[in-house]
């Protein structure tokens, strides 16, 4: 019997290559998700492959893998000895906690241990699938292709650099594909798997892969024909402001150097905030305007590290201590920093991370024991800052000149900035004599001069065109990024220090009754606004974007006696939408009729569409299942025939079933074709000899009338093997 699959050395080489290929998958996943213990995961994969190679029965390999996973959990999460009471207690309590969380559908309350288990399950499945591909299908091409695509995509769209990985994958994959091709070839042509034959194939294969790799490495390489697709693609998905691109950019630190372009809304939740009033949630600011977008000047300012409940020092002094409020944030997406409202005093969370405040971009990065840490649930104490109108009105333009040099970066402007932008700033602020009024004038300028808020058809500035200039003078349409960037640029042209701030706006009030309000903040709420420095007062929040109401709380102090000008509209925060649904429900309940028949009628009339669609859906599903029956039938047939007794009748039925399956698979038997010639064809098609074996037993049973000689138990394996192939 020719069976290269039984050659241990050959299969071991295949499995080693598979292991290396899987390791290439694991590496970027580990580094991008900050998962540690890569070697332990690799050991798990290796363990699975070795046991598959050694054909360890499932009732041994399964428990071994489960034990390994449990040991991993105990080792990584507690560091205790595995065979100890405390580890069992830990496992049990974690199991019950997750079980309760799952049964009560509190997905957010499942622990990391649960996610680890899921990841292991995923690895287990991957190992099993690849083992199946290699051992039974002798084909790895699909997986190979996926690996290349996976690494290429990660290399393009994430910080992961796959330069060397892609070379390793090419080499491993070519070797693997070549060896598997050899195995298939030997099987279909029934060539005796002699060592010299294998060597005659493998050595040239190895040399060819080595030579082509070497040549490819040493050949000169031209630069990319296409530009980096990331800015191009993100320009369509909404650069800043709101949109799906924002989160990925914040999370992965992709810059805002290319603003503009339209985007589509995305209501994926980012976090929930339990707070009395909706707040603007600041993430960071950017200070360097490039004519196309924003960058951060690095290595300026200091970094401060704070602990839980420690008073933090942002540029905003908290307001009235009596107004102190607490916000509870639960994150739906993971960021390695905390979001904070204006007037933040301190943070608190269950873990004890370091909150590292960088004065360069005012971001609070979180670290835990030196590693980047992604908080899930935390509390922020804050008191909204308030400003005295009197003090603001006393800010004089002359004071701006006396500002220390660290403010220089907040008045930076590119030299190419068109003069008309500077002229416009002067024009807008002509009637104001103090810094605050000038700033307010610019803030209000947009709402009074036919600017339009829109997320659609927003152009990206062309080569040599200024982003702000384009918005102010040409399009006059845009979203938060256009408004906020323009305001910063206008302010800076008047030497008023200003910076561009990114974060989230209030979000949507989703629960207003009993207890504090809960706001849900989605990707759509990603926002940008302006902070400007009022000499003698400090930094202040401004909101130039039409339709947004996040401006700072200005205390119209009484001593001035001045009447508030009509422009000091402090727009109220939007009234939380009163939930109307309950009433509707109540109304519906009243309609629910007196008799069962009426109720049924009502049910059918109300749900007519649903019922019709359900029927159509099930019919389609049924048709699809019928059409796909060749794919899933074997999964039903194998256990069925396994359970049957070993009589000749069972064998004959199973054999006829197999004929039907093969027919469905697409290998039709012609009317005049005998079973034997059909079997020979099937065997040459699949590269087996099992169909002929089954057929001669069947012939003996049916034509020879000698059913006693049939040993179903011995034939079962051949039958299962063939029927499995028909589902491929």
């Amino acid at each position: 019997m020719i069976n290269i699959r039984k050659n241990k050395v050959f299969m071991a080489v295949l499995y080693v290559l598979v292991f290396l290929l899987l390791a290439e998958w694991l590496t970027p996943v580990m580094s991008l998700t900050d998962t540690a213990h890569k070697s332990l995961f690799l050991i798990f994969i290796g363990l699975g492959l070795v046991m598959a190679l050694a054909k360890v029965p499932w009732w041994i390999s399964g428990p071994v893998k489960v034990l390994y996973v449990l040991w991993f959990i105990v080792y990584v999460y507690t560091g205790q000895a595995f065979f100890s009471n405390s580890s069992i207690v830990f496992l049990w309590s974690d199991f019950t906690a997750n079980f309760i969380a799952l049964t009560s559908q509190n997905w957010a309350e499942t622990t990391d241990v649960f996610r680890t288990v899921l990841f292991f399950a995923l690895l287990w499945m991957a190992v099993y699938l690849i083992h199946y591909w290699v051992s039974f299908r002798l084909s790895i091409f699909l997986f190979y292709l996926l690996t290349v695509v996976f690494i290429a995509v990660l290399d393009t769209f994430s910080p992961y650099t796959g330069d060397t990985a892609i070379i390793r994958i090419m080499v491993i994959g070519l070797m693997l594909a070549g060896l598997l091709h050899l195995a298939r070839w030997i099987e279909t042509h029934r060539i005796p798997a002699k060592i010299d034959k294998i060597a005659a194939y493998v050595i040239p294969l190895f040399l060819m892969v080595a030579a082509s790799t070497a040549i490819a490495l040493y050949l000169p390489k031209s630069g990319p024909i296409w530009p980096d697709p990331v800015p191009y693609i993100t320009s369509f998905s909404g650069e800043a402001g709101s949109g799906p691109g924002t989160i990925g950019r914040i999370g992965y630190g992709v810059d805002d150097s290319q603003l503009g372009g339209s985007f589509i809304g995305d209501d994926t939740p980012v976090f929930r905030a339990e707070v009395e009033d909706g707040q603007y949630w600041k993430v960071e600011s950017k200070d360097f305007y490039t004519t196309k977008g924003w960058r951060v000047t690095r290595n300026v300012g200091d970094k401060f590290v704070y602990n839980n409940e420690e008073q933090v020092d942002t540029d905003f002094t908290p307001g009235d201590p009596e107004q102190e409020a607490t916000a509870l944030l639960s994150m739906e997406q993971d960021f390695p920093f905390v979001l904070y409202p204006y007037g933040t005093k301190s943070f608190l969370m269950h873990e004890t991370p370091d909150y590292e405040y960088d004065t360069a971009d005012q971001r609070f990065d979180t670290f835990f024991e030196g590693d980047v840490f992604e908080p899930e649930l935390y509390e922020v104490k804050f008191s909204e800052p308030s400003f005295s109108l009197t003090a603001l009105r006393e800010t004089s333009v002359e004071d701006l000149e006396e500002l220390p040099s660290e403010f220089d970066r907040f008045v930076q402007l590119p030299e190419e900035l068109p003069q008309r932008v500077r002229d416009l700033a002067v024009e807008i602020t002509e009637g104001s004599d103090n810094v605050y009024d000038k700033t307010r004038a610019i803030e209000r300028y947009f709402s009074n001069n036919n600017f339009e808020y829109s997320q659609q058809d927003i152009p990206v500035p062309e080569e040599g065109q200024d982003y702000v200039d384009q918005f102010l003078f040409e399009t006059k349409r845009g979203y938060c990024d256009n408004f906020s960037t323009s305001m910063v640029v206008l302010l800076r042209s008047l030497d008023i220090p200003a910076r561009w701030v990114k974060g989230f706006n209030e979000g949507e009030l989703i629960r207003a009754s009993d207890g504090p309000d809960i706001y849900e903040i989605t990707n759509n709420n990603a926002h940008s606004w302006v902070e400007a420095y009022m000499p003698g007062v400090g930094w202040m929040l401004f909101e130039p974007t039409i339709g947004f109401t996040g401006a700072a709380d200005v205390n119209f102090d009484l001593e001035t006696g001045e009447t508030t000008p009509e422009d000091v509209e402090m727009p109220d925060r939007p009234d939380p939408l009163q939930p109307e649904e309950p009433e509707v429900d109540a109304a519906a309940a009243e309609i629910a009729g007196p008799t069962i028949r009426a109720r049924l009628n009502q049910f059918f009339t109300e749900n007519k569409a649903k019922i019709v669609w359900t029927i159509i859906g099930s019919a389609l599903l049924g048709a699809l299942l019928y059409k796909m029956r060749s794919k899933w039938m074997p999964k039903v047939l194998i256990p069925y025939y396994r359970s049957r007794n070993g009589s000749a009748q069972t064998f004959e039925k199973a054999y006829l079933r197999l004929l039907k399956q093969l027919d469905l698979y697409g290998i039709k038997r012609r009317d005049g074709q005998t079973l034997r010639s059909y079997a020979a064809y099937i065997d040459s098609f699949f590269g087996t000899h099992e169909m002929s074996r089954l057929t001669s037993a069947y012939e003996q049973s049916v034509y020879g009338g000698n059913s006693n000689s049939v040993e179903w138990h011995e034939l079962k394996e051949s039958w299962e093997n063939l029927i499995n192939r028909t589902s491929g």
């Binding site: 006829l656 004929l659 009317d671 005049g672 005998t674 020879g704 000698n706």
Partner: protein, 316 residues
């Protein structure tokens, strides 16, 4: 199986002489095992005679040859009673038909009268002269040859007579490689001279009895009948295969199964032999000749369209 080994030896033996014609040798043995006779149709010089002689030598049988000529008389075939004045009685002098293996060369050259005497002897395995019936020694196997290219002065066998032959075989030319091998083997001496018998006549007769015990399932019987019936409804066919043809197919299939070491007949056996059993039993319409359709093609067509039984036979 022992029978198979013995028969394989015979075939191997024949192959020493006839190169590349294993199939023909197999078919000859099939005919011999099932008490049938073979009509060899082909041009002269492709080894027809050599085949028969090799077969005769391999089974250690008595080999006789009758060269058919237009002036051959029935008595020249079956023998003649001669008056012996000494004891005043007729003594039967057996003709060449009284052998185990008889080569009837160019059977279509002789008159129908002589032909029918041969065919009668073939059918009955006995000859009757002057009211006395004489049994022909067993086993009895006739291999008649017919030259298809000469029509001048020939008496083609009527279709009803053809039915008496179990199989009609065409030798065909050897391939160039085989022909070279033929040349090299016959350079010194004809290999036939050195051939030894590998099976005795008694063994052969025993095997002939054993063939009858090879199982023919109802499934196979139904398949054979179905094939025969299809020959009768085929549009090009004037006269289809008779029930005698069906019997011939069954018997030869049994012998073939034995040759392949099985004790039951499979559809493959039937398909393999159908062409040799049926093609000379089918009379084609003249349209078939116009369209260039041969009997062999008709049989192929029928084989392709008749459903091969794959399930246990369940009565109608």
């Amino acid at each position: 199986m022992k029978a198979q080994e013995r028969l394989e030896q015979v075939i191997d033996n024949i192959e020493k002489v006839i190169i590349g014609k294993r199939n023909i040798a197999e078919l000859s043995i099939v005919a011999m095992l099932s008490h049938g006779h073979v009509l060899l149709e082909d041009v002269p010089g492709v080894g027809k005679t050599m085949l028969v002689r090799a077969l005769a030598k391999s089974v250690g049988a008595d080999f006789k040859r009758i060269q058919f000529t237009p002036d051959l008389l029935p008595s020249d075939v079956i023998g003649v009673s001669i008056y012996n004045p000494k004891d005043m009685e007729f003594h039967f002098r057996p003709g060449p038909i009284m052998g185990n293996i008889v080569l009837a060369d160019e059977i279509n050259r002789t008159s129908p009268k002589t032909q029918s005497s041969l065919l009668e002897a073939m059918e009955e395995a006995s000859v009757t002269i002057d009211g006395v019936t004489m049994q022909i020694p067993k086993p009895f196997f006739v291999m008649a040859t017919q030259n298809p290219i000469e029509y001048e002065g020939t008496y083609p066998l009527p279709e009803a007579q053809l039915d008496r032959f179990l199989l009609k075989i065409k030798m065909g030319y050897p391939s160039s490689k085989e022909e070279m091998e033929v040349l090299s083997r016959s350079q010194i001496s004809a290999p036939i001279e050195n051939l030894q018998s590998v099976i005795t006549l008694e063994e052969l007769i025993k095997l002939q009895e054993e063939v009858k015990l090879i199982k023919v399932d109802d499934t196979i019987r139904a398949y054979i009948v179905e094939l025969s019936r299809h020959t009768r409804t085929e549009p090009y066919v004037y006269l289809g295969v008779s029930p005698r043809g069906s019997i011939a197919l069954m018997k030869s299939s049994q012998a073939y199964a034995m040759l392949k070491g099985r004790d039951y007949v499979t559809p493959d056996d039937v398909q393999h032999l159908a062409k040799f059993v049926f093609s000379h039993r089918i009379m084609l319409r003249s349209e078939a000749r116009y369209d260039g359709v041969t009997a062999e093609e008709i049989v192929d067509r029928i084989l392709a369209k008749t459903r091969v039984p794959v399930q246990r036979y369940v009565g109608q």
